[in-house]
Protein backbone atom coordinates (compact mmCIF):
# COMPACT_ATOMS: atom_id res chain seq x y z
CA UNK A 1 0.00 0.00 0.00
CA UNK A 2 1.75 3.22 -1.11
CA UNK A 3 2.05 6.12 1.28
CA UNK A 4 0.25 9.22 0.00
CA UNK A 5 1.45 12.37 1.70
CA UNK A 6 -1.19 15.08 1.80
CA UNK A 7 -0.49 18.78 1.40
CA UNK A 8 -1.22 19.20 5.10
CA UNK A 9 1.35 16.54 6.01
CA UNK A 10 3.93 18.09 3.69
CA UNK A 11 3.25 21.49 5.20
CA UNK A 12 3.84 20.05 8.65
CA UNK A 13 7.13 18.50 7.51
CA UNK A 14 8.27 21.76 5.95
CA UNK A 15 7.31 23.72 9.07
CA UNK A 16 9.26 21.27 11.18
CA UNK A 17 12.27 21.62 8.91
CA UNK A 18 12.06 25.40 8.98
CA UNK A 19 11.20 25.45 12.68
CA UNK A 20 8.36 27.90 12.19
CA UNK A 21 4.77 27.83 11.05
CA UNK A 22 3.69 28.82 7.56
CA UNK A 23 0.46 30.72 6.94
CA UNK A 24 -0.14 28.62 3.84
CA UNK A 25 1.67 26.08 1.74
CA UNK A 26 1.84 25.59 -2.00
CA UNK A 27 2.73 22.03 -3.00
CA UNK A 28 4.29 23.28 -6.24
CA UNK A 29 6.34 26.09 -4.74
CA UNK A 30 10.11 25.69 -4.66
CA UNK A 31 11.13 25.06 -1.07
CA UNK A 32 14.45 26.85 -1.49
CA UNK A 33 13.23 29.86 -3.42
CA UNK A 34 9.83 30.42 -1.82
CA UNK A 35 10.21 29.10 1.71
CA UNK A 36 13.88 29.88 2.29
CA UNK A 37 15.17 26.34 2.66
CA UNK A 38 18.89 25.96 3.26
CA UNK A 39 21.09 22.88 3.65
CA UNK A 40 20.21 22.43 7.31
CA UNK A 41 16.47 22.65 6.64
CA UNK A 42 16.91 20.05 3.91
CA UNK A 43 18.66 17.69 6.31
CA UNK A 44 15.86 18.21 8.85
CA UNK A 45 13.19 17.58 6.22
CA UNK A 46 14.70 14.41 4.82
CA UNK A 47 15.57 12.97 8.24
CA UNK A 48 11.96 13.52 9.34
CA UNK A 49 10.65 12.14 6.06
CA UNK A 50 12.72 9.01 6.60
CA UNK A 51 11.50 8.62 10.18
CA UNK A 52 7.85 9.00 9.17
CA UNK A 53 7.74 7.10 5.89
CA UNK A 54 10.89 4.99 5.79
CA UNK A 55 11.78 6.58 2.47
CA UNK A 56 15.42 7.55 2.23
CA UNK A 57 16.38 10.16 -0.34
CA UNK A 58 19.96 9.71 -1.45
CA UNK A 59 22.47 12.51 -1.80
CA UNK A 60 21.91 12.28 -5.55
CA UNK A 61 18.10 12.33 -5.45
CA UNK A 62 17.33 14.69 -2.56
CA UNK A 63 18.64 17.84 -4.29
CA UNK A 64 16.21 17.18 -7.14
CA UNK A 65 13.23 17.18 -4.78
CA UNK A 66 12.44 20.85 -4.41
CA UNK A 67 8.66 20.96 -4.13
CA UNK A 68 6.06 19.22 -2.01
CA UNK A 69 4.62 17.57 -5.10
CA UNK A 70 7.99 16.10 -6.07
CA UNK A 71 8.57 14.76 -2.56
CA UNK A 72 5.08 13.28 -2.33
CA UNK A 73 5.52 11.58 -5.70
CA UNK A 74 8.82 9.95 -4.71
CA UNK A 75 7.37 8.76 -1.40
CA UNK A 76 4.37 7.28 -3.20
CA UNK A 77 6.56 5.58 -5.80
CA UNK A 78 9.05 4.19 -3.29
CA UNK A 79 6.40 2.86 -0.91
CA UNK A 80 4.62 1.28 -3.87
CA UNK A 81 7.85 -0.44 -4.81
CA UNK A 82 8.54 1.66 -7.88
CA UNK A 83 12.19 2.69 -8.21
CA UNK A 84 12.52 6.33 -9.26
Amino acid sequence: MPTILTAEELKELVELALDHELPDFDMDANLYEVYGFDSMAAVALFVELQLRTGVEASVEVAPLLQTGTQIARVVEERTAGIKS
Binding site: S39, V43, F46, V47
Partner: protein, 165 residues
Amino acid sequence: VTSIPTPLEPEAVRALLPYRPPMLMIDRVLGWSDEGIVAEKYVRASDPVVAGHLIHGPHVMPGVLLIELVGQAAYLHALLRDGAAPDSEGPPPARLLGRCKARFLHPAPVGSCIVAEVTQLGRALHGALHHGRLMVDDQVIAEIEVLSAVAAAAPAAGGAAREEG
Protein backbone atom coordinates in the same frame (compact mmCIF):
# COMPACT_ATOMS: atom_id res chain seq x y z
CA VAL B 1 36.44 0.92 6.29
CA THR B 2 39.01 0.93 9.06
CA SER B 3 37.77 -0.56 12.27
CA ILE B 4 38.02 1.65 15.32
CA PRO B 5 38.85 0.05 18.64
CA THR B 6 36.68 1.07 21.56
CA PRO B 7 36.94 2.70 23.97
CA LEU B 8 38.73 5.68 22.49
CA GLU B 9 41.23 7.19 24.86
CA PRO B 10 41.88 10.97 24.91
CA GLU B 11 44.67 10.78 22.33
CA ALA B 12 42.42 9.00 19.85
CA VAL B 13 39.61 11.48 20.43
CA ARG B 14 41.99 14.36 19.78
CA ALA B 15 43.25 12.70 16.64
CA LEU B 16 39.72 12.69 15.24
CA LEU B 17 38.05 15.82 16.56
CA PRO B 18 39.20 19.28 15.43
CA TYR B 19 38.78 20.76 18.92
CA ARG B 20 41.23 21.44 21.68
CA PRO B 21 40.80 22.62 25.26
CA PRO B 22 38.93 24.52 26.43
CA MET B 23 36.53 23.75 23.56
CA LEU B 24 37.16 20.00 23.46
CA MET B 25 34.20 18.56 25.36
CA ILE B 26 34.89 14.84 25.09
CA ASP B 27 37.51 13.23 27.31
CA ARG B 28 37.04 9.66 26.16
CA VAL B 29 34.66 7.37 24.34
CA LEU B 30 33.32 4.35 26.17
CA GLY B 31 31.96 2.74 23.01
CA TRP B 32 30.14 3.29 19.76
CA SER B 33 28.12 1.50 17.12
CA ASP B 34 26.29 2.49 13.95
CA GLU B 35 23.39 3.56 16.15
CA GLY B 36 25.22 5.83 18.57
CA ILE B 37 28.12 6.65 20.83
CA VAL B 38 28.78 6.92 24.56
CA ALA B 39 31.27 9.56 25.65
CA GLU B 40 32.59 10.92 28.94
CA LYS B 41 33.38 14.41 30.12
CA TYR B 42 34.91 15.22 33.49
CA VAL B 43 33.93 18.55 35.05
CA ARG B 44 37.14 20.03 36.41
CA ALA B 45 37.52 23.21 38.45
CA SER B 46 40.69 23.98 36.50
CA ASP B 47 38.83 24.04 33.20
CA PRO B 48 38.65 27.74 32.17
CA VAL B 49 35.07 27.42 30.96
CA VAL B 50 34.04 26.13 34.37
CA ALA B 51 36.24 28.53 36.34
CA GLY B 52 34.81 31.48 34.46
CA HIS B 53 31.19 30.41 34.84
CA LEU B 54 29.19 31.63 37.86
CA ILE B 55 32.32 32.78 39.65
CA HIS B 56 30.47 33.05 42.98
CA GLY B 57 29.12 29.52 42.59
CA PRO B 58 27.63 27.07 42.29
CA HIS B 59 30.53 25.68 40.27
CA VAL B 60 28.82 23.70 37.56
CA MET B 61 29.30 22.86 33.90
CA PRO B 62 27.74 25.58 31.71
CA GLY B 63 24.52 24.24 30.25
CA VAL B 64 25.26 25.60 26.80
CA LEU B 65 28.42 23.51 26.71
CA LEU B 66 26.37 20.39 27.30
CA ILE B 67 24.86 21.15 23.90
CA GLU B 68 28.39 21.41 22.55
CA LEU B 69 29.22 18.08 24.19
CA VAL B 70 26.35 16.37 22.38
CA GLY B 71 27.28 18.15 19.14
CA GLN B 72 30.87 16.92 19.38
CA ALA B 73 29.72 13.40 20.22
CA ALA B 74 27.44 13.48 17.17
CA TYR B 75 30.35 14.73 15.07
CA LEU B 76 32.62 11.99 16.38
CA HIS B 77 29.91 9.41 15.79
CA ALA B 78 29.52 10.52 12.18
CA LEU B 79 33.28 10.24 11.65
CA LEU B 80 33.50 6.81 13.22
CA ARG B 81 30.38 5.53 11.48
CA ASP B 82 31.74 6.67 8.13
CA GLY B 83 35.03 4.90 8.71
CA ALA B 84 37.36 7.67 9.82
CA ALA B 85 40.52 6.52 11.51
CA PRO B 86 42.91 8.51 13.70
CA ASP B 87 45.64 7.95 11.15
CA SER B 88 43.56 9.12 8.20
CA GLU B 89 45.22 11.63 5.95
CA GLY B 90 43.88 15.17 6.02
CA PRO B 91 41.46 16.83 8.39
CA PRO B 92 37.91 15.51 8.76
CA PRO B 93 35.12 17.51 7.13
CA ALA B 94 33.83 20.19 9.50
CA ARG B 95 30.29 19.74 10.78
CA LEU B 96 28.06 22.54 11.99
CA LEU B 97 25.18 22.47 14.38
CA GLY B 98 21.99 23.67 12.78
CA ARG B 99 19.57 23.60 15.66
CA CYS B 100 18.98 21.97 18.97
CA LYS B 101 16.37 21.27 21.59
CA ALA B 102 17.54 21.02 25.15
CA ARG B 103 16.10 20.28 28.56
CA PHE B 104 18.40 20.88 31.49
CA LEU B 105 17.21 18.85 34.46
CA HIS B 106 20.06 18.95 36.98
CA PRO B 107 23.42 20.72 37.16
CA ALA B 108 26.70 18.89 36.65
CA PRO B 109 28.95 20.03 39.50
CA VAL B 110 32.72 20.21 39.58
CA GLY B 111 34.13 16.77 40.21
CA SER B 112 31.39 14.94 38.39
CA CYS B 113 31.73 12.75 35.33
CA ILE B 114 29.13 13.35 32.63
CA VAL B 115 28.23 10.31 30.56
CA ALA B 116 26.66 11.25 27.24
CA GLU B 117 24.65 8.54 25.51
CA VAL B 118 24.13 9.93 22.05
CA THR B 119 21.85 8.08 19.65
CA GLN B 120 21.42 8.77 15.97
CA LEU B 121 17.72 9.26 15.23
CA GLY B 122 18.19 9.62 11.50
CA ARG B 123 20.52 10.79 8.77
CA ALA B 124 19.98 12.37 5.40
CA LEU B 125 22.09 14.11 2.81
CA HIS B 126 25.27 15.15 4.64
CA GLY B 127 23.63 15.56 8.01
CA ALA B 128 22.10 13.74 10.91
CA LEU B 129 19.78 14.12 13.86
CA HIS B 130 21.09 12.89 17.21
CA HIS B 131 19.55 12.64 20.64
CA GLY B 132 21.76 12.94 23.70
CA ARG B 133 20.94 11.68 27.16
CA LEU B 134 23.41 13.10 29.65
CA MET B 135 23.87 11.49 33.03
CA VAL B 136 25.85 11.99 36.20
CA ASP B 137 25.90 9.05 38.59
CA ASP B 138 22.99 7.44 36.71
CA GLN B 139 20.86 10.59 37.11
CA VAL B 140 19.71 12.18 33.87
CA ILE B 141 20.90 15.79 33.90
CA ALA B 142 19.93 16.82 30.38
CA GLU B 143 18.18 15.66 27.22
CA ILE B 144 19.49 17.31 24.08
CA GLU B 145 18.67 16.83 20.41
CA VAL B 146 20.99 18.26 17.77
CA LEU B 147 20.81 18.54 14.02
CA SER B 148 24.19 18.75 12.35
CA ALA B 149 25.53 18.73 8.83
CA VAL B 150 28.80 18.85 6.99
CA ALA B 151 29.78 22.47 6.44
CA ALA B 152 29.14 23.95 3.01
CA ALA B 153 27.26 20.88 1.86
CA ALA B 154 24.57 22.71 -0.06
CA PRO B 155 22.11 20.04 -1.20
CA ALA B 156 20.45 21.87 -4.02
CA ALA B 157 20.56 24.76 -6.39
CA GLY B 158 19.24 27.68 -4.42
CA GLY B 159 20.07 26.07 -1.09
CA ALA B 160 22.90 27.70 0.82
CA ALA B 161 24.83 26.20 3.71
CA ARG B 162 24.58 28.11 6.98
CA GLU B 163 27.62 29.80 8.30
CA GLU B 164 27.04 29.17 11.94
CA GLY B 165 28.18 26.66 14.43
